[in-house]
Each structure stands twice: as C-alpha cells, then as structure tokens.
C-alpha cells in the first residue's frame, strides 16, 4: 500500500509546490503592480507637478500649489487602496458564501442598502460624524444582505445564481430611487446626491479615513480567516457538513466580514459596484479556486483595479475627473453580462 502511494503523493506534492511557486510569483507581480499604480496615482492628476514637489510633499511639506495637490492625492490613494481591497475581498467572499458567480456587493444591493441607510441617517436623524455614518452604513448593508438573500431564495430551487442576482439588482434599483427621494429636499447635501448614488474617492481626507480603519481591519481579518470555511462550502453543503463544518455558522461569519467591508467602504466612498464581481473572476484565472490564495489576491486585485480606474478617470477627463464608480460600472457591466450569458436558466 504505502509503496504504491508514495510516488503518486510525491508527484502531487511537487505539483502543488510548483503552483504555489507560480502563485508566489503572481503575488509578487500584483504587489509590484499595486505599488506602481499607487506611485502613478500620487504623481498624475489634473495639475502637472514636478518631481521635487512630489518628494517634498511626500515628506510632508505643502509650500506651493503643486505640493498641496500631491498632499491631497496621498489620502485619496490610501482610500483607493483600502476601498478597492475591501470591495474585491467582499466580492470574493460573497461569491464563495452564495456559491454564485454573479455575487457582488453592488449587484446584490448591499452597497446601495448601506448608501440608503446613511442618507436616511443624515436627513431624518441628523447624524453628522463619520463614525455614525459607518454604523448606519453597516446596519444598512446587513439589512440589505439579509433581505436580498431571503427574497432570492424564495420559491423553487432556492437561491439560484440568476434569481439571487435578479433580487439583488432589483433591490438595488429600488433603493437607488429611494436615495434620491430622501436626499432631494435637503438642498445642503443635494449636491451630494450623486456621491450617494455613484461612488468615488475624490473627496478623501485623512480625517474621513481614520474612523473606518478599525472596521475595515476587523472585516479584513474575519474575511481572510474564513478562507478554509469557504473552501469547504465550495464542496457543497452536504459534503461540508460531512467533513464536520457548521455550514450555517461558516456562512454567517464570512458574511459578517463581507458586510463590514462593504458598509465601511460605502460610508466613505459611496456605492461602488461591479468591482467585487470582476476582480475575483480574474484572480481565479490566475491562482485557482483555493480561497486561501483567492481571498488575498482579490483584495490586492481590487486595490489595483480601483486605483487604476481612478487614475484613468483623472487622465481621461482632464481637467475634470470621472468618479471611479462610473468607470467600474463601465468595466464591470460587460463582465456581468458575459457571466449571465454563460448561466443555464429555465424560465422563472
């Protein structure tokens, strides 16, 4: 027995080692890409800034306009990395939890739920601090997630990918229209209607970023720690139960991580959709379906995509800017349609 198995096992181990080396290479590549994009994000913008001003600004000086512009780009880049990582990771977790290739914080209505909750808090309950925004956003995200999952799993066949996506997208459309209704009478934040409908990282300041850091940290930790559970869930509920996994607990805990990430990022950036859909699919092509690799890759990939979209939005529309939420929808919606087309469906 033992002698029969050994060469095979050895072979398999070397195969795993090989793919792990590939993955490590990819990891290094993605980290390098992210670093390059961040550098680009700090240097490129509406105003051309000289190298000396950039280095001076990075050292903390804001003596002239160029240095001040760079000083504004630093928190923006930081927020882009954080929000992109949060949304990419949340998308991967949601796809794992629901075993649904169409899952995404935007498509499933979670981001718009967070947005609606913040807007209701601002207009009807006079919340003002960034900390309060986050609690409202997380509550909204959680309610929306539970709501969409519940209505998506009604009826025959449970929560099939298309039913869940339809429930989420319709909820998102409905919430978006309620956001307008709630915000419109308030002239003072009416200019902000747009920012609660389509997300962006334009107005980032470090004062707005600090309060979300603890929430994001907890969200990242919970999500990344759920990788093994998601791997088991991917085998199907029966097999996962057979292997000793508490399926409901695994789903609930991973979802809490994703909801924290979505709520916290929406509280600062507004709803950014489709990022969490695209990134995990690309990452799966690179590193495979093992969530222990997929989740960190999705986080890094999300950060890369969001920063790239933000920089592209600054270059393409000079001297104006295109909000990242606009660009992620333009990039992500075709991917969404492509995945929808690949799904087998029966008439509802």
């Amino acid at each position: 027995m033992m002698t029969d198995r050994r060469p095979d096992a050895k072979h398999r181990i070397s195969a795993i080692a090989l793919t792990n080396r590939n993955r490590a290479l990819w990891l290094a590549g993605v980290v390098a890409l992210l670093a390059a994009l961040c550098a680009l994000s700090v240097t490129v913008g509406t105003r051309d800034v000289s190298w000396s001003d950039i280095t001076a600004a990075l050292a903390g000086r804001t003596d002239n306009l160029g240095q001040a512009a760079v000083a504004l780009r630093i928190p923006r880049t930081l927020l882009g990395v954080l929000a992109g990582a949060a949304l990419g990771l949340a998308g991967a977790v949601m796809q794992g939890v629901t075993r649904n290739p169409l899952a995404d914080p935007g498509i499933l209505g979670v981001n718009m739920g967070a947005s609606l909750a913040v807007v209701i808090g601002i207009v009807w309950f006079q919340i003002e601090t960034a900390g309060a925004y986050i609690w409202w956003a997380i509550a909204g995200a959680a309610l929306a997630a539970v709501f969409v999952y519940t209505i998506g799993s009604l009826g025959r066949g449970g929560a099939t990918p298309l039913k869940l996506a339809l429930a989420g997208a319709a909820t998102s459309v409905a919430f978006a229209s309620l956001v307008i209704a709630v915000v419109l009478p308030r002239a003072d934040i009416a200019g902000g209607i747009r920012s609660w409908q389509i997300g962006g990282i334009g107005g980032a300041t470090s004062e707005r970023i600090w309060p979300v850091l603890p929430f994001l940290a907890v969200g990242f930790a919970i999500s990344l720690l759920s990788a093994r559970k998601l791997n088991l869930l991917a085998l199907g509920d029966e097999l996962a139960v057979g292997l000793g996994e508490r399926v409901a607990f695994a789903r609930a805990s991973a979802s809490i991580g994703a909801i924290l990430l979505c709520g916290a990022s929406t509280a600062v950036c507004g709803p950014i959709g489709f990022l969490g859909l695209v990134v995990p699919h690309v990452c799966r092509l690179l590193v495979g379906i093992d969530h222990r690799w997929l989740l960190p890759f999705s986080a890094l990939g999300g950060a890369c995509l969001l920063i790239a979209a933000d920089v592209a939005g600054r270059i393409a529309a000079r001297p104006a800017e295109i909000d990242v939420g606009i660009l992620t929808a333009l990039i992500g919606a075709p991917v969404f349609i492509w995945i929808v087309r690949r799904q087998r469906v029966r008439e509802l």
């Binding site: 009604l154 009478p185 333009l330 919606a333 087309r341 469906v345």
Partner: protein
C-alpha cells in the same frame, strides 16, 4: 345543454366587455379630472370659469400666464408622457411575458435618456432631432439587449439581467455627461436621472403627440396579434400571426413611444413598470390591458406631479414621487415572481 353553456359564455363575454368599458371610461374621467385639477390649482387657485376662458384664448391678467404658460404645458406633457410610458411599458411586459421586463428596468429608457443627454448637453441640439436620436438609441439598445440574451432562445430572466447590466453602463454614462456639463444644474440633472415635467413647453408636446399617434396607433391596431403572442410563440404562429415580424413591429412601436417621451420628460421612474400590472389587476387577465395601462400611466404622472409640487412637505420632480411609489412595488414583485413564477 349546449345552448346554455353557449349562453353563459356569451353572458360572460358581455360582462367582461361591460367591465372593460366601464374601467376605461372611469380611468379616462380620472385623467380628465386630474388634468383639470392641475390647471386650476397651483400656488394660487384659479376659478374653473377663468381656466376655461384662458383655454378658449382670452387674455386674463395673471391667469393667462399661470394657467396658459405654466400649468397647461406641464399638464399636457404629463398626460402625453404618461400615456406613452404606460402603453410602451405594458407592451414590453406582455410581449416578454414578464412584468420585470419593463423598458425602465431592461435599459431602454436609460438608452433613450443617455442619447438625449448626449444630444442636448454635448452636441447642444434641441427640438425634434433630440427625440429622433433618442428613438434610434432606444431601438439600438433594445436590439443589443435582445441579441445579448439570445442563447438557446431568450429566457426572461437572462434578458432582464442583461438589460440591468446594460442599464448600469448607460446610467454611468449619463452620470458622467451630467457631471462634466459646464453648469451642473440640479433641476436639469434630476430630469435625466428620474424624470420631471418642470419647465415643460407646449412646443415639446408636438413630437410626443406625433409619436403617440403613429406608434400608439400602430400598437393598438396590432393589439390582437399581441394578445396572440401572449399565448406563446407556437400558439401565435398556429393562429396565423407572423411571430418574428409582429414582434419586431410591436417592439419598434413601443420603443418609439418610450424613447420620444424620455427625450422630453426624462425617464420618469417606474411609470412604464407600474402601469401594466395595475391595469392587469383592474381589468382582469382576460381583457387587453393596453388602453387601461396607457390611462393609468397618465394618471400616475399627473397625480405624481401634483403631489410632488403641492401635497408633499417639499417639492419633488414627478420621477421622484413615482420612483418612491415604484420601489416597494418592485420589491414586492420580485418576491411574488420568485415564489410563484411570473405572469402579468
């Protein structure tokens, strides 16, 4: 025995027709009443007699301006846009046999709206050419959505999701054009985001009226074929309807109406989506809901605009009111569709 069952059949049919006629006349009266109400009541109340005299062309100090210049264009636009959205929306819902397949959900109004915004803001066009561009874009988008959802036949769910994806792209284009417009004007922006009849002018009603006459007439003349399509493609061709050609004609007519209305009033949220199911609920499943749905569209826009201007604590464009009404209904519908399967 045979004769009694025939008699009950005929009696049932008579009852249905009577019911249909009374529903249509009540709805028509409601439209007229709301129209009159929105002419007579505003920040000030104009006596009915003065309203009539203004409509007959007399010059009356004050009333001529408020009724003739402000309220009349607005009310006319509300009626025409409402009729167009209601009729176009229910047509899609019937043809695709799914209440979620309404033009405002599957991206057709967003396509028309994006084209209109592009024509008005980027190309600085105005007048009927904007409507034409919007109609062409609406047709293009509907072809695209239909084409992209073809794969072993069109499945309703796939078509709706593809439409939602396309709609997300188009809406981000609208948002981009609006945000890069030289003067970001909230009122204008709201028109293209949710629809509004603020600042309507009588001149804008002409292309809308023309499209309603041409496309609406075409649709109503084909309503029998549309009824046949409701039974399914096989049944329809067995009944002698050229399925592909009829579907194409009906789609062009419905898109034409929706897009011309959108070019003027913006995509008034959920009117196309709400009218059909309400009409079907009122007339019952055995009568055609086309005309009732058109009238309900007009009622929704007139009532929504009136409420948005005068009944609510602050002033809203009509699209916000209909949007807030439609949102819960959309969610309710998803629940129902998932639980029991779909039918209008």
């Amino acid at each position: 025995m045979v004769s009694t069952s025939l008699q009950t059949l005929i009696a049932n049919r008579r009852r249905r027709q009577r019911r249909y006629r009374s529903v249509v006349s009540i709805l028509a009266l409601l439209v007229v009443a709301l129209f009159a109400l929105s002419l007579a009541i505003g920040q000030t109340v104009t006596p009915p007699l003065e309203v009539i005299r203004v409509l007959l062309g007399e010059q009356i100090g004050g009333a001529s301006f408020t009724v003739g210049q402000l309220r009349l264009p607005r009310a006319v636009m509300s009626v025409l846009a409402g009729l167009s959205f209601g009729l176009g929306g229910v047509t899609f819902q019937l043809m695709l046999r799914n209440p979620l397949a309404s033009p405002d959900i599957i991206g057709i109004t967003s396509g028309a709206s994006a084209a209109a915004v592009f024509a008005i803001i980027v190309l600085s066009l105005n007048g009927p050419i904007v409507s034409i561009i919007a109609v062409v874009a609406g047709l293009g988008v509907s072809m695209l959505v239909y084409g992209l959802s073809l794969r072993n036949g069109v499945a309703g769910t796939r078509l709706i999701l593809v439409g939602i994806g396309i709609s997300a792209m188009l809406e981000s284009i609208i948002a981009y054009i609006l945000s890069s417009a030289p003067a970001w004007n909230l009122q204008e922006a709201m028109r293209w985001l949710t629809g509004s009849v603020n600042g309507a002018q009588l001149g804008q009603a002409i292309p809308l009226l023309a499209s309603l006459a041409v496309f609406g007439g075409l649709l109503l003349s084909r309503s029998r074929d549309l009824e046949a399509l409701r039974l399914g493609d096989d049944m329809a061709s067995a009944l002698g309807v050229g399925v592909a050609r009829t579907r194409m004609l009906i789609m062009v007519a419905a898109v034409g109406m929706i897009a011309s209305a959108t070019a003027v009033s913006g995509p008034i949220a959920f009117v196309a989506f709400l009218s059909g199911p309400i009409a079907a609920r009122i007339v019952g499943s055995s009568s055609s809901p086309l005309v009732p749905a058109a009238l309900i569209g007009a009622v929704l826009v007139l009532a929504g605009d009136f409420a948005g201007q005068f009944l609510l604590p602050s002033r809203y464009p009509v699209g916000v009111v209909t949007g807030a009404l439609g949102a819960p209904y959309l969610i309710y519908l998803i629940v129902r569709v998932n639980r029991t399967g779909s039918a209008l």
